[in-house]
């Protein structure tokens, strides 16, 4: 398929300044056992290409699932037509085409391939884990699942670029909902955030086989727990909440296309402006954030982005100071600002835009005990279950599945319905403690929505637990 496609690409290139082809083939399999019953096994194979043409200041794309010579030829022509139609009408970046011509490849590290375990054995595994969730009649809904993705991309350009990448991803899932009367509490296996690149070895790495009894017990425990108290207090966020905090109030505000206004009709703008890059104090001196697609096994690792730019690890926030934003090649040309290799598309049928990839909060020096020990009165929250933030990525409110009260440096009783709210521009300046390397968890989310037309993309986040002071915390109704 790949070599055939390369030959066909050469045959259909229109007479333009620049043309690229991006091929994506993605196979997925989702297995889930719910309440002891195997749900319909779902498989898919999505295959297609996108042509991008940049010509005399115009830009056009055309995506098709028809990979026959005539299908490819029609799509290449259509992309060229759009480029012609948008001359003098497109954003100025395309006057001098920002294009990459790199050659390279990448493959996810896989120790135990998905296919090394027979389907029947996978179903058996999930049936056992599902059964371990049903520990009490108050558990009213429960499930165990595995979602596997095997993706191959090829990016070819008329200026000699050729990038081939193969990704393999596993998302382990557990969920238990407990009910009493008109109250239901749900506990999950980190809300599906234990997703990584790799094979079945991930299940051992993330402790999947030990998790089900804890998930079920904690769902039941929440039914008896008091509501999270209200007040301004110290807050420690576990890594499976930190990643949401990083994602929403650092990642999205730093996306350069948002800063340039592209997303204002849908995903929103940013409180960050171009002049803040290099001088703005984003957080306390404990805050160090990197864009790092080079970290092996993290969900959004790659060697090149979807326009063929080589990926490198870059510091975005250094000792609390904003030094770089998340802008791909086009946004860098438009803004004149340094960026990163983050032009990414959800699949063959969407054009690349500025996205997060792996966005990590670098470890500090505190043990978890030291983080807790520094809190006289506060709350420790785990596992995101609710997220909401304004279109400038400033005023946020997040909710978690579970919390623990902290009094005099000790973890206390479990609390239900924990929520907190704040403002990005000030919240990170109250970062008062960052867990050390031993406390870091490598997590991610397969669902980050953005763009017009809409796109969902996978992003990785690694973070230790962190302590914040003076946070507005509250509980349920």
């Amino acid at each position: 398929m790949i070599s055939e496609l390369e030959a066909r690409f050469r045959d259909v290139i229109p007479s333009v300044q620049f043309c690229s082809l991006r091929f994506v083939r993605e196979r997925q399999e989702h297995l889930e056992v719910r309440r002891g019953v195997l749900q319909p096994v779902e498989r898919s194979e999505d295959v297609g290409v996108m042509f991008t043409v940049i010509d005399h200041g115009g830009v056009g794309y055309a995506a098709t699932s028809d990979l026959t010579p005539s299908g490819l030829s029609a799509a290449a022509r259509r992309a060229a037509e759009w480029a012609r139609a948008t001359r003098t009408r497109a954003i100025s970046a395309f006057a001098n085409p920002p294009t990459a011509s790199h050659v390279g490849s990448y493959a996810s590290p896989v120790e135990r391939p998905w296919a090394s375990l027979a389907l029947g054995d996978k179903i058996g595994l999930l049936s056992r884990e599902c059964a371990r969730l049903a520990v009490d009649d108050a558990i009213v809904d429960w499930s165990a699942g595995l979602w596997h993705v095997d993706s191959e991309t090829l990016h070819l350009t008329t200026n000699g670029g050729r990038v081939h990448q193969a990704l393999e991803i596993l998302v382990p899932e557990l969920r238990a909902s407990a009910n009493r009367g008109d109250e239901t509490q749900t506990r999950t296996f980190a809300a599906g955030q234990h997703c990584r690149q790799g094979g079945l070895e991930i299940l051992d790495e993330v402790g999947y086989f030990a998790a089900a009894p804890r998930v079920a017990a904690e769902a039941l425990e929440l039914l008896d727990a008091p509501d999270c108290p209200s007040g301004v207090m110290d807050l420690i966020l576990a890594p499976d909440q930190m990643i949401l905090q990083i994602h929403e109030s650092i990642g999205h505000p730093l996306e350069l296309d948002r800063i340039l206004g592209d997303e204002r009709n849908y995903a929103g703008r940013s409180f960050v402006t171009p002049d803040m890059i290099g001088s703005y104090r984003y957080g306390s001196e404990l805050l160090n954030v990197t864009f790092d697609p080079t970290r092996p096994g993290e969900l959004a690792s790659y060697a090149f982005d979807d326009v063929g730019q080589p990926a490198t690890r870059e510091l975005l926030i250094q000792d609390g100071l904003l030094v770089r934003s998340l802008g791909g090649l086009t946004s860098q040309v438009r803004s004149g600002l340094p960026g990163v290799a983050n032009s990414r598309a959800t699949s063959w049928n969407r054009a690349p835009i500025d996205r997060m990839a792996n966005l990590n909060l670098e470890p500090g020096t505190s043990t978890f005990a030291e983080l807790v020990g520094a809190v006289e009165s506060g709350v420790y929250m785990e596992t995101n279950c609710s997220w909401s933030i304004d279109d400038s990525r400033n005023k946020f409110q997040f909710g978690c599945e579970r919390a623990r009260l902290i009094r005099d440096g000790e973890l206390g009783p479990v609390l239900k319905n924990p929520n907190y709210r704040g403002v990005s521009a000030t919240f990170w300046r109250n970062l008062a403690g960052v867990g050390d390397a031993s406390t870091v968890e490598v997590l991610g989310t397969p669902y980050c929505g953005k763009g017009e037309p809409n796109q969902t993309i996978r992003v990785g986040h690694a973070s230790p637990p962190c302590r914040f002071t003076g946070v507005d915390v509250f509980g349920g109704a």
């Binding site: 019953v37 498989r43 194979e45 297609g48 799509a75 759009w82 029947g120 009709n265």
Partner: protein, 440 residues
């Protein structure tokens, strides 16, 4: 495209052996997408995609596979054969599915909605001309959308529509903007012009210095679009029969009769009034209308075939997600022209944004105001308002604190394009609400 789908189904029939059956769902579109920022074109292109999902069944054992189609039988035939062979090879490893249920005698149907759409480049020119002199940002999406269902029992259903959706904002500065949309099946320049003039008038009102409100309780008017954001999160399990039976519905207190909505609140899934197909992936035909809430109380739920089999009830043709596609809320008695006068002094909210549950069991939600939100004094627009966060239960917004719903409703076509262009819609009134809680 319909003929091609039938050709594919013919190929599928040839591939069956023994007692095998199949259910096949087709989804495709040929879409122009043009994205604008600051009145210039950011991205412009065309996407042609076709997918076929086949569920291969023998007795109660089955599994499904979705493949991408080229639209060329010579190319797609081997893909189809490979998919069927894989599904057949998988079957021995699968247990019997006790919750398998599919239509065995549902009628075939055909609905073809032709459109009058401009050429994509011409539409882009028209949008740029309409936004000239303004900071316009948004997206134009247009073209045919195809949906089909077929089973080896002879059932054939087809739904296609040629439609467009222009979703755009005019920005004055920072986060102050007017959001508009123009969607339908026949593009009319004068209709677009009317909407553009309306947006410009609102934009002028945003020129006044903005006001920042303190957290507290406010009388608010939620436009149909703003109310739609709240109604949308009710669809996250709120009308699902499975969620109701597993007590995971956000409307659990309504279901347990521990809470109720205002007696004037009536919510329905009205497929006949929407633009979505009336068939689903197991071949069941959805009734024209299912009442979900009547007189402020839960009336019924959306029941997928799997839930029907699991809990021993009848399906009403809901999809697997058991979420509405064509939700509607009955109108009230407040004429739209009287909204500002009845609001008196309070907040006029054009749009809400990023709603999510802050206490799911209590159906308490948080979210933000967005775009054009105004402070109203003595029935007159006084000033735009900087964005505010709310945190409030649906039982107050559509219950104790609901003053009235507007007597006119708007049909809001979903602009979302994840995976493909949405065919979901909502027909909603605006809502006048007392003591709406703003928190940040």
């Amino acid at each position: 495209m319909q003929a091609y789908f039938h050709d594919l189904v013919g190929e599928l029939e040839k591939l069956l052996t023994g007692d095998e059956r199949f259910l096949a769902s087709f989804a495709g579109e040929d879409s122009d997408f043009v994205r604008f920022n600051r009145g210039e074109i950011r991205q412009a292109g065309t996407v042609s995609q076709r997918y076929l999902e086949v569920d291969l069944i023998e007795g109660r054992r089955h599994s499904s596979s979705e493949i991408t189609l080229a639209g060329d039988l010579a190319t797609d035939r081997p893909r189809l054969r490979h998919a069927i062979e894989e599904l057949r090879a998988t079957r021995p490893f699968l247990p019997e599915d006790p919750h398998l249920l599919y239509a065995e005698n549902a009628p075939s149907s055909e609905r073809v909605q032709r459109g009058e759409l401009p050429d994509g480049a011409a539409a882009a020119n028209a949008v740029q001309a309409m936004g000239a002199g303004h900071d316009l940002v948004g997206v134009y999406a247009a073209g045919p959308i195809y949906s089909g269902f077929a089973s080896s029992l002879g059932q054939r259903n087809w739904h296609s529509a040629e439609s467009f959706h222009l979703d755009w904002s005019l920005y004055r500065e920072t986060d102050r903007a007017v959001k508009s949309s123009y969607a339908g099946f026949a593009w009319r320049a004068d209709e677009l012009d009317k909407k553009a003039r309306r947006a410009e008038a609102q934009l002028a009102a945003l020129a006044r210095p903005p006001r920042t409100l303190k957290p507290g309780h406010y009388r608010v008017f939620l436009t149909p679009a703003a109310l739609g954001e709240l109604v949308e999160i009710l669809s996250w399990g709120g009308f699902s029969f499975r969620a109701m039976r597993t007590k995971t519905t956000p409307l659990i207190r309504l279901a347990e009769e521990k809470a109720r909505l205002h007696p004037s609140v009536a919510i329905a899934e009205n497929v006949s009034g929407g633009v979505a197909p009336n068939f689903q992936e197991e071949g069941f035909i959805r009734p024209d209308r299912v009442m979900l809430v009547e007189h402020g109380q839960l009336a019924s739920c959306l029941v997928s075939p799997r839930s029907a089999a699991e809990y021993g009830v009848a399906t009403n043709g809901a999809s697997a997600s058991e979420a509405p596609t064509s939700i509607e809320l009955d109108a009230g008695g407040l004429p739209t022209d009287d909204v500002l006068a009845r609001l008196g002094s309070g907040l006029f909210v054009s749009n809400l944004w990023y709603c999510n549950f802050s206490d799911r069991s209590a159906c308490r939600a948080t979210g933000m105001t967005r775009f054009a939100t105004f402070w109203v004094e003595n029935g007159e627009l006084a000033a735009p308002v900087n964005v505010m966060r709310f945190d409030e239960t649906i039982y107050r917004v559509l219950g104790d604190n609901l003053v009235d719903l507007t007597s006119e409703r708007e049909l809001i076509l979903d602009a979302q394009t994840y995976d493909g262009r949405s065919v979901h819609s909502a027909r909603l009134p605006g809502a006048l609400v007392d003591d709406f809680t703003l928190t940040l």
